[in-house]
Amino acid sequence: MSTIPPTQAQQNAWKKSPDSELYINPLPVRIWHWLNAVGFVALILTGIQIRYANMFNVLSFETAIKTHNWVAFTVIANYFVWLGFYLFSDRITVYHPELNPRKFFDKAFKQFMYYSYGIFKGEPSPHKVLAYDKFNPMQSITYQIVMLLVVPVQFITGIMMWDIKRFEGPIAMLGGIHTVDTVHVLIFIFFVSFTLVHAYMGALGHTPSAHFKEMFTGYEEAEEKSDQ
């Protein structure tokens, strides 16, 4: 391709222009995300105390349950901040599926090869972040499944166990309290590993802190800027 290298003046214009940063995480998403993250950590810790009451004794059983319930209702309410934002924003496209399987697998494979190989050689990520297409295929399917399937199921099973009497009918329909509890605990285990992997992957931007900053400021950390 015939490209004249940009002059120094043009490069500077690029870097200084406020337009040269891409707004990827709108305010409601950022507020939801960090409140949610704190909430999840609290739920995991109180959850461990409830489940393994005989192994740990940081909180009394009653306090652990009370805290778990209160935090849970906050996290559920907060979920609707996220859901409402996406349902009423044209950024809903960020959560749309890739309906062409060939394209999906092709991109997913490239992304996988990048995480397992290219990244260690300092290659750039094959996915280019765009405002309406910000997730790579692996992020995309993970967040879709987590936010629209796993999180709601965790909420529903949790609410059922919060008031077993009131939800007697639905619990019986799902195969009894034992099934509901098992599902809740399995998803709990999933979330412990998800949170760890997710936080690790969050550090895989072009600098370790890049994605974290993005979730605070909303703006993509442009790669050109890191060398300034």
């Binding site: 222009s17 349902l87 959560y95 697998f105 405002a131």
Partner: protein
């Protein structure tokens, strides 16, 4: 809901597409990118674009061919050709194809914004002055955007896709080990063939 002006940028250098997205995404445009003419042709099938930018020199299908095909498919879509330094021959050829303009690299945010605005404005003028039959075509185009027939339909489609997403994703996850195995096998075969042939 999704009433933004759709911009397609075709360039084998991914940086160019990203630059357009950075400049235009906050200003009421939705930018899609394609790294080749072939990819662009697939994208065009799914979305009607309000403006298309294409690099002139690309491996495979070049910018002129892209412009020609887009013009053949939707003559009202403004196509702006991105060129390197003075390539008058190509420009003459492109003018014959009826492209809306040229923009020369390197591109600054100001250039990107003004060229886009100009292309959109010119297209509007043409559409406003158009004969009724063409206007009908335009209405048909607007209505058929995203394949739905009203704003409510568009919202329903957006929300439908949103809630369908985790199930599509689950299907992909289930298929992943099989497809992944196939892809690794293909990669291995290619490496083997390459080594074999180089001997």
């Amino acid at each position: 809901m999704n009433t933004k002006l759709q911009v397609l940028v075709i360039d084998d250098d991914a940086v160019v597409g990203r630059s357009f997205d950075r400049v235009l995404s906050d200003k009421g445009y939705q930018v899609s990118t394609a790294l080749s003419g072939e990819e662009a042709m697939e994208t065009i099938r799914e979305t009607d674009f309000d403006v298309v930018f294409t690099d002139i020199k690309m491996p495979g299908m070049d910018g002129l061919e892209v412009a020609e095909r887009i013009k053949a498919r939707c003559p009202w879509t403004p196509v702006v050709v991105i060129t390197g330094y003075g390539t008058p021959d190509n420009e003459a050829q492109a003018s014959v194809l009826g492209v809306s303009g040229f923009v020369h690299k390197p591109l600054t945010p100001e250039i990107i914004e003004s060229v886009t605005l100009k292309a959109v404005k010119e297209a509007e003028v043409i559409l406003e002055a158009a004969e009724p039959c063409e206007t009908q075509e335009v209405i048909a185009k607007t209505v058929s955007k995203a394949g739905v027939h009203s704003k409510a339909g568009l919202i329903a489609k957006n929300v439908g896709l949103f809630f369908a997403a985790p199930f599509v994703a689950l299907a992909y996850v289930i298929a992943l080990p099989f497809v992944g195995f196939y892809m690794f096998a293909k990669l291995g075969r290619e490496a083997y063939v390459k080594k074999h042939l180089s001997k």
